[in-house]
Amino acid sequence: MSAATSPVVILERVSRRFGSQAALDRVSACIRPGEFVAVIGRSGAGKTTLLRCLSRAIVPTDGVVRMGGQDLRPLAGRALRAHRARVGVIYQQFNLVKRLRVLDNVLIGRLPHVRGWRGYAALLGFFERGQRDIALACLDHVGLVARTWQRTDTLSGGEQQRVAIAKLLAQEPQLILGDEPVASLDVANGALVMETLRRIASAAGLTVISTLHHVEYARRYADRVLGLRAGRLVFDGAARDLDDAAIREIFGALPEAGTDDLELTPLPEPALVTG
């Protein structure tokens, strides 16, 4: 696999409205290649909306998102698929096809690299040996070759997220987006997944932009933190500068017991598991 340098990501006063509700309000940022960026904020602060603007699942109502100098707004058809192919996404719920075998799910990551008549062969499940070898190498990287022929829904949550990482590797993206990739995993699996992402990103020089439910994950793995509050960017700085004042700025008053804010409890306290 070729080491790819990520495109520069530029957000210029990006706003997104749903009805009268502003999910994102004039967010501007420039993300340099190779940065590991955590996006944090309360539920409903606009984290996922921001991510979906970057993956071009949605289009901002105002402002411009540029990736490698390319405005994402006009993308359609083939160009949109090409954009999706260079952006790898990893989800909270893994979004693997449950009834398919593990290898097939990794091979899905190869689909944008399968061209011409081979694409039609792939419809029936036939892939070239070279593609399979790449998929197996990716599975090996996350330590799951032994599961190759198992049905994906027979794996544990942590293993499924690692399959999703293998699929991400197979896709050979130039940029990685994470939508709460560890929120449904236990502490040990969450750390394993974050470390794998971190290792891949620094080895290949890839940008990672990920929403993270837990401040402690952001502190430990991210270079840079974007803090959103009610759709506005209220913090943009190095992870080490994320002090109590910054956290109060992002999350408002420190949460009380009984609210849904588990973000501030330190890792690896059992409080995370109860969430």
Binding site: V87, V97, P112, A122, L123
Partner: protein
Amino acid sequence: MTGPLAGILGGPPPQAPPRRSEVGRNLVATLALAVVLGMAAHVIELRPLELVRDVGNIGVFLKGYLRPSFGNIGEYSWQCVVTVCIALWGTLVALAISIPLGLLGARNLSPHPVVYFLARRTMDVLRAVNEFVFALMFVTAVGLGPFAGMLALGIHTGGVLGKLLSETVEGIDPGQAEGVTAVGAGRLHVIAFGVVPQVLPNFLSYVLLRFESDIRSAAVIGMVGGGGIGFYLWDTIRSFKDGEAATVILLIVAMVMCTDIMSARIRRAAI
């Protein structure tokens, strides 16, 4: 409350917010249903007493059927084989029709609202027109015989299976399909990898159910010239060959039972 939680939950119970009574609404609904059923009974001339009074006539009618005659059983058995073949190919034709229509007629997969609308309405028409009407139509086109019956079954069942397929596709987990879309895969790849694995077990089950139903339909479609055992059923009953008719009915029952047992086995093995 006296348990350990009494300290937390003790005190006077709070006032629940007011709730609208549903008694009146339920009463009106029940009355309306009763009125509709009463009128429907009048329309279909529901007279249960006549059934009790004249039930003996059925016995007279059935008497002839108690002695099946097996003289022509070879020909009748062959016609049962023809019937199964009609149902087999009819279901295959139905698959060829229902898969494209069902995918285009699923809201979450259809490329355009107009395509969705057209696919849905086409399936409605295919379902609304009974297979016997289609059979009459095809008999004029390809002549009497099993081919006409097969086409009629296939087209009607195509509408039914297409509808079931589109509903199944609309019920898939969108996250699993998004995982395929998000890598930049094309539309066909999204269907093959993100949709088909999710709908396959249910759809297979529907196809087997419809195959059973097609066997039953194929067994009578011969009445309108569609070939198979149905022609003999109609012919023997109409010409009062009660013994022969009894044989035909016995064979049909045996055939339907066999296919039901077999398709249950296939379903268990495949799903």
